[in-house]
């Protein structure tokens, strides 16, 4: 029965193997489901968040997956707007990863707010001054765009394709994809930016506050740039991991190399601007607030090593590797650079969320620490498990990689 849903060529693993592969992820999803239920039923006291750590692990996961999911809109932009034809072999994977990241983030945000039933107040009572409103509007709209972009891929399923109406609908959606890619690019640009803006506008928190252009703090532009620099690398990593697990070549090297090259350029530009921003912060924002750089790193585990790791190890080094054609063509180097790039963006988001809140602003206040509870880990890890399941199911039943058959003919 299940085999009727799968294309005969190229081959997929047996139902039993597939079930065993998804089983641990289903268990993690169950753990997340229980955690989410407890948080909704008993309240956010199930977490270790506090009045100090108003944002915590979930927001780190949210901002992390949204940044890594930027590969979707950016690859869409490169494929349909710029016209990089070679990326058509990876765009489906990028869209699915984007969909997973954004839908996961939305689900997590639904649990993270104290009054989930009032979530719609964001739209009804929108405060136009709040960056979070911009984030909410754009993420919601963009998730709809991603769903529309995902739909034609779903409709290419062997069984669904047999239904004429659906096949035609899917085909017509394909034709209109450039419009959705452009809409997605516009929406993503603004919400990636406003996620950064959220922290930059906390003017009374010198650790996070930044100057900027008009209403947008510099973090607005830095978050956009860092997301489009790291997003393609995450798409590469997911593709390479799928290739490793399925023991098949799925995407031609030119597509991977094209993404890696663009990522390298963007990461380099980002690094230059990030260093300029950091210097502006050290010599402008901090002294104005009566602080020195080391005042921000004198207590707790979040030392200056985080800044060094983010900028040098996970920023400059991967940028150099990705910029050198010889280096990025060697798989171990490409993978190392991509991993470092993704870790760098995660550190960046972690620092803006957790370290900003951990550092006291009042001189007589103390440094606070925070350790997530199993419920918080449950919900966070469930997003990863959910992503792996959706991607695995998509790979099994949908033609995610259009060049797969051609690349595995031998």
């Amino acid at each position: 029965m299940e085999s009727t849903l799968i294309h005969q060529e190229p081959k997929r693993c047996s139902t039993r193997t597939f079930f065993l592969w998804t089983l641990p992820w289903i268990l993690i999803l169950g753990w997340g489901g229980l955690s989410a239920f407890l948080c909704l039923w008993k309240g956010l006291n199930q977490t270790n968040m506090s009045n100090i750590f108003a944002f915590a692990l979930w927001i780190v996961f949210d901002l992390g997956v949204i940044a890594l999911g930027a590969g979707a809109f950016f690859t869409g932009f490169l494929t349909y707007i710029i016209g990089k034809k070679e990326l058509k072999s990876i765009i489906n994977a990028a869209v699915i990863i984007g969909f997973i990241c954004y839908s996961g983030a939305m689900a997590m945000l639904g649990i993270d707010i104290g009054q989930p039933l009032r979530g719609w107040f964001i739209f009804w009572h929108a405060n136009i001054h709040s960056m979070l409103v911009e984030v909410s509007f754009c993420i919601t709209c963009y998730l709809s765009v991603l769903t529309i972009e995902f739909l034609p891929i779903i409709l290419e399923n062997k069984k669904l394709e047999e239904i004429r109406g659906l096949r035609l609908f899917g085909h017509n959606l394909h034709e209109a994809m450039a419009i959705f890619a452009a809409t997605g690019t516009f929406l993503s640009f603004f919400h990636q930016g406003s996620l950064g803006g959220m922290f930059g506008v906390m003017h009374a928190r010198p650790f996070a506050a930044r100057g900027g252009f008009y209403i947008w703090p510099w973090t607005f532009f830095l978050f956009v740039l860092s997301a489009i620099a790291a997003g393609p690398c995450f798409t590469i990593l997911c593709t390479k991991l799928t290739e490793k697990l399925t023991r098949k070549k799925l995407v031609p090297d030119d597509a991977i190399q094209s993404l890696a090259k663009i990522s390298g350029w963007l990461l380099s530009i980002y690094m230059i601007l990030k260093i300029a921003d950091t210097l502006g912060w050290i010599y402008g924002i901090l002294p104005k607030a009566g602080l020195r750089l080391m005042d921000c790193y004198k207590e707790g585990p979040y030392g200056i090593w985080m800044l060094i790791t983010e900028i040098i190890i996970c920023g400059i080094i991967p940028a150099i590797i990705l910029m050198i054609p010889k280096a990025r063509k060697k798989m171990p180097w490409l993978i190392t650079a991509s991993i470092l790039n993704c870790i760098g963006i995660l550190i960046n988001r972690f620092v803006f969320i957790i370290v900003s809140l951990a550092i006291p602003v009042m001189p007589f206040d103390r440094f606070w620490s925070y350790v997530p509870t199993w419920q918080e880990w449950g919900v966070g890890l469930a997003i990863i498990a959910y992503g792996i399941i959706v991607f695995s199911v998509s790979y099994r039943y949908l033609p995610v990689f259009p060049k797969e058959r051609e690349l595995n003919m031998a």
Binding site: G43, L44, N45, M49, S50, N51, I52, F53, A54, F55, D112, I113, G114, Q115, R118, G119, F121, I122, W124, H125, A126, N127, H129, S130, M131, L132, V133, S136, M198, V201, M202, H203, A204, R205, P206, A209, P287, K288, A289, G290, L291, R292, D295, S356, L357, V361, M362, P363, F364, D365, W368
Partner: protein, 268 residues
């Protein structure tokens, strides 16, 4: 000629004399009782307890016999600006659902509990830790008589929303209603004061209209010993402090080496 006072636009503010404060905590108790602040069976988790008025204990860091202690009451600062010139407090400008607003008639930063979605962005934006999230359902111990002390003028808050000091806004409404009944449009000084100011046994807290030059607060803030908490962040708090001790004033803000200027030879 002095500019005439506008009776329709107030800037209610507070001056806390730290040299008078004994750290007795009456202000905290009065505030919690007045505003129906929920309690926990175990209040030891201070990161999640709700204390609109919070008392910090600060020391000069010296060894005995030079050691000195000061108690630092911290209500909501009722900021006027967001630190970047915006005419909202840091929390108001970020609130996603317009659940907190600055009332330009009184200068009081409000919190609309039934509109708050509990995203806690305001808490992240406030450097004073003056905002509190309801991590649990509202709870008042049964059989202890506490429920009989609940004020009918202040709504209790539900789980999952943020709350904060409102300068006892219901007292302002009560005073206005009384004045209206008596055919007056303006309030006399002292007609509207907060519960903490009323309860303080050392009379360390003075409350009034900072826009009214005749009010005591307007005179007190002109003192060279007056200062505000984290003043250089430009959030323009309406809570002022007084202390003749240099080390106390220094502890109220961050200073680079050599930046802090002690007050010398003040007459009178």
């Amino acid at each position: 000629m002095e500019k005439e006072h506008d009776h329709t636009r107030h800037r209610y503010g507070m001056v806390i004399d730290l040299d008078k404060c004994t750290g007795c905590g009456t202000c905290m108790v009065a505030c919690a009782a007045e505003n129906n602040v929920s309690v926990r069976p175990d209040e030891s988790d201070k990161e999640r307890s709700i204390t609109w008025m919070q008392l910090y204990k600060i020391t000069n860091g010296k060894e005995f016999p030079e050691s000195e202690v000061c108690y630092f009451p911290r209500p909501c600062m009722q900021c006027e600006e967001d630190g970047n010139g915006g005419k909202h407090s840091p929390c108001v400008s970020v609130c996603v659902a317009t659940a907190t607003e600055i009332d330009h008639e009184t200068g009081i930063v409000s919190q609309i509990y039934t509109r708050c979605i509990g995203c806690r962005y305001c808490q992240a934006a406030c450097p004073y830790h003056a905002r509190f999230f309801n991590w649990w359902d509202t709870y008042f111990p049964k059989g202890k008589g506490l429920e009989r002390y609940l004020s009918p003028e202040v709504s209790v808050r539900m789980r999952g929303v943020v709350e904060k000091c409102t300068f006892c806004h219901h007292r302002y409404m009560r005073a206005k209603t009384k004045a209206y009944a008596e055919g007056r449009k303006t309030l006399e000084e002292g007609e509207y004061i907060t519960a903490c100011a009323e309860a303080c046994p050392a009379q360390a807290i003075t409350f009034g209209d900072l826009n009214n030059p005749d009010h005591a607060v307007s005179k007190l803030i002109k003192s060279p010993y007056a200062f505000r908490l984290l003043e250089r962040l430009n959030t323009k708090p309406k809570v002022y402090y007084l202390s003749k001790r240099d080390w106390v004033r220094k502890k109220a803000d961050n200073f680079l080496p050599g930046e802090f200027k002690p007050v010398f030879k003040v007459k009178g």
